[in-house]
Subunit: 454 residues, 2 copies
Amino acid sequence: MSGRSKITLDESELPRRWYNVIPDLPAPPPPPLHPATRQPIGPDDLAPLFPMELIRQEMSGERYIEIPDEVRDVYRLWRPTPLFRARRLERALRTPARIYYKYEGGSPAGSHKPNTAVPQAFYNAAEGTRRLTTETGAGQWGSALAFACAQYGIDCEAWMVRASYDQKPHRRTLMHVWGATVHPSPSAVTAAGAKILADHPDSPGSLGIAISEAVEVAAENPDTKYALGSVLNHVLLHQTVIGEEALAQFDAAGERLPDMIIGCTGGGSNFAGLVFPFLREKLAGRTDPVFRAVEPAACPSFTRGRYGYDHGDTAGFTPLMKMHTLGHDFIPDPVHAGGLRYHGMSPLLSHMYELGMFEAVTKNQLECFASAVTFARAEGILPAPEPAHAIAAVIDEARHCTETGEEKVLLTALCGHGHFDMTAYERYLSGEMGDFELPQDRIDTALAGLPDIG
Amino acid sequence: MSGRSKITLDESELPRRWYNVIPDLPAPPPPPLHPATRQPIGPDDLAPLFPMELIRQEMSGERYIEIPDEVRDVYRLWRPTPLFRARRLERALRTPARIYYKYEGGSPAGSHKPNTAVPQAFYNAAEGTRRLTTETGAGQWGSALAFACAQYGIDCEAWMVRASYDQKPHRRTLMHVWGATVHPSPSAVTAAGAKILADHPDSPGSLGIAISEAVEVAAENPDTKYALGSVLNHVLLHQTVIGEEALAQFDAAGERLPDMIIGCTGGGSNFAGLVFPFLREKLAGRTDPVFRAVEPAACPSFTRGRYGYDHGDTAGFTPLMKMHTLGHDFIPDPVHAGGLRYHGMSPLLSHMYELGMFEAVTKNQLECFASAVTFARAEGILPAPEPAHAIAAVIDEARHCTETGEEKVLLTALCGHGHFDMTAYERYLSGEMGDFELPQDRIDTALAGLPDIG
């Protein structure tokens, strides 16, 4: 191992293809079902919402898919991203573990989300889409898509959960800077939103409602399509640039491949992007790491949800997907990691979890912020609340190594910075932040609303 | 010229020394004077405020000063920084000019300020300083110093101009995350602050007042010293890593050296850091660029100030420096580019401006924000309001090239991101932002308060 603490790759080493894990799995994931017929959906069912190339990628059995030059050209604004060895954090923890983090916060939108926003905007523009609709919670995904649409000259229209729209205006402004239109959700612009407003004029909104609104507008306008920032196969596919670069960086550093890879999971795209290329190497017998997903205790899809078919949205417009879910009516407590507050989980990752291919743990909010502050004081970079979950689990494992003396190599993805989460940090530092209890009956009630499908 | 749009350097190409321009000048800059005796100051006069190594650098006649390994080790967290070619901006402007920008916003604190905060904290820690005091306006400098002090385990105590302390809490929170103590200024903690509060309990504060408070505490406590984020020679020296890296990157890109280099100026450290290494090459006859400083129309030290001796602070604690100044009582209008709102200017740059070594222009706030939005939509990165001044001047020159057909090579430093300036962007986008007039009598009144020296 060399003495380097930052391992960079040259622009020429930017990955040329995305890795599709599906053909390497021992069994294919169950198909999505049409919400009305409950029959497996085909490409035509998705055509009102997505361009054909993305539908092809969603259903592809090819191991590798070429990244278009026009996409790599935009990736180059911030990719390849650096892999850091957290030497100062190691010293602070007095651990013999070697801790690495792949930093995705250097993208214009400040997270890993542009890795998929850019190709989604590109394929839509190439197939004649004039406008993309989407939902966004705290705004990470909405701002990533606004940036991507600006790169290819198409319009972006986002429905932002009203509570965030009102209380977290900065990412909304970022979307405005990049030229997007932003509606608070529920909005009077859509039938789905208007119906909810009629019953609940003061509704704070939810991701499920915002998805319904964005899907409705896309379905009704031929020049408009819809974009989703996580959960779907093609989204996870696009994020594999993270893991592919990390593999090359471990090689460049002369370091052995990690013993454990830890990532936070909301819809699953950040975790999948980091893990899938290493999983390929594991399936080929070249390495044998433990993969550990970390989810918020307030929204524990893997660890306390049910594996079954559920809707992705509140109104039931989306296909039914077999996934770990807390129920599409489940409203998570308002933890600051807005990007992890989704009732469901990637169907692909859910399938792999059932196959025992990785493990999952939960973390409470306060421990995550404590870990993030420890990290920031040692390493400088301020983590977003979402990757703070992964950092908390990394610190756990590093402390375990302090006790056992094991020189484990740990890897995580620092998938975004916390520059737009300063109010949350101030609440934590001033002692105003608390943890939430999630009683089992709240989960049971939400799961009772699941559709009754095998 | 290759087709690359991002030119990176390997960690091994991080500069090993800072460049001191002073021995290459045709005449040395006038000395600072003791505020009481009005005689040139010596090292002992500065010893209560700065460690000896920084005093040595402040007065050094050596062309190069080695960067300690312990400093380069922290620099590696974000350095070398990327040099971008702004191809998308060029297309948007339909200009034949080739536009390059050196991006310093990837540092943990989000600006170029850590380039000097880190060595200042290091030398202080090495000489036994337990605590560093400083002033900060909008918080760029305070957060950079808080980060740097956390790296070497010393305390940081910052006096933050009260108007910003109350209205811009996010960088204050960033300082807290890194473990710093932050006081609103004027504060009751110091005699200088208490005196002002007694007369003006609702004082919004100013940089000049905050400097007086930080200097007072450092002067009175043997284990405490003071740190300044711009203006002084050693600060400009540390920033030359920007220009040194840029020189290497032009070479790596196979591009000819720039025809024009444009930077914003508040105290001058960002401009000097970019320009000095290119100036060295110019003095050696290897290139002949135009250097253009851009200052806010609301605080035009070069273009409308006087070149004469003035205090750096309100209370008159600092040495008298010969510089372009609007008078130490001048309070600039509240433009959002808080980092450019200083009544004075680097004495070294002021001397060089008098020698005709570069030119200066002003930009109004609205034009800067319009240029920043044009830049963000094309290039993705959201600029801070300070470098937006330089971007406005770059766009001017690029449009001039569109008219003339000249294929000029332009270079600027994008010295920080705008993630903590979203309220300003929202004001701009909603049409609520205005420009300020600066009548000559306001400048004349402030200049009447200058001490009567040569």
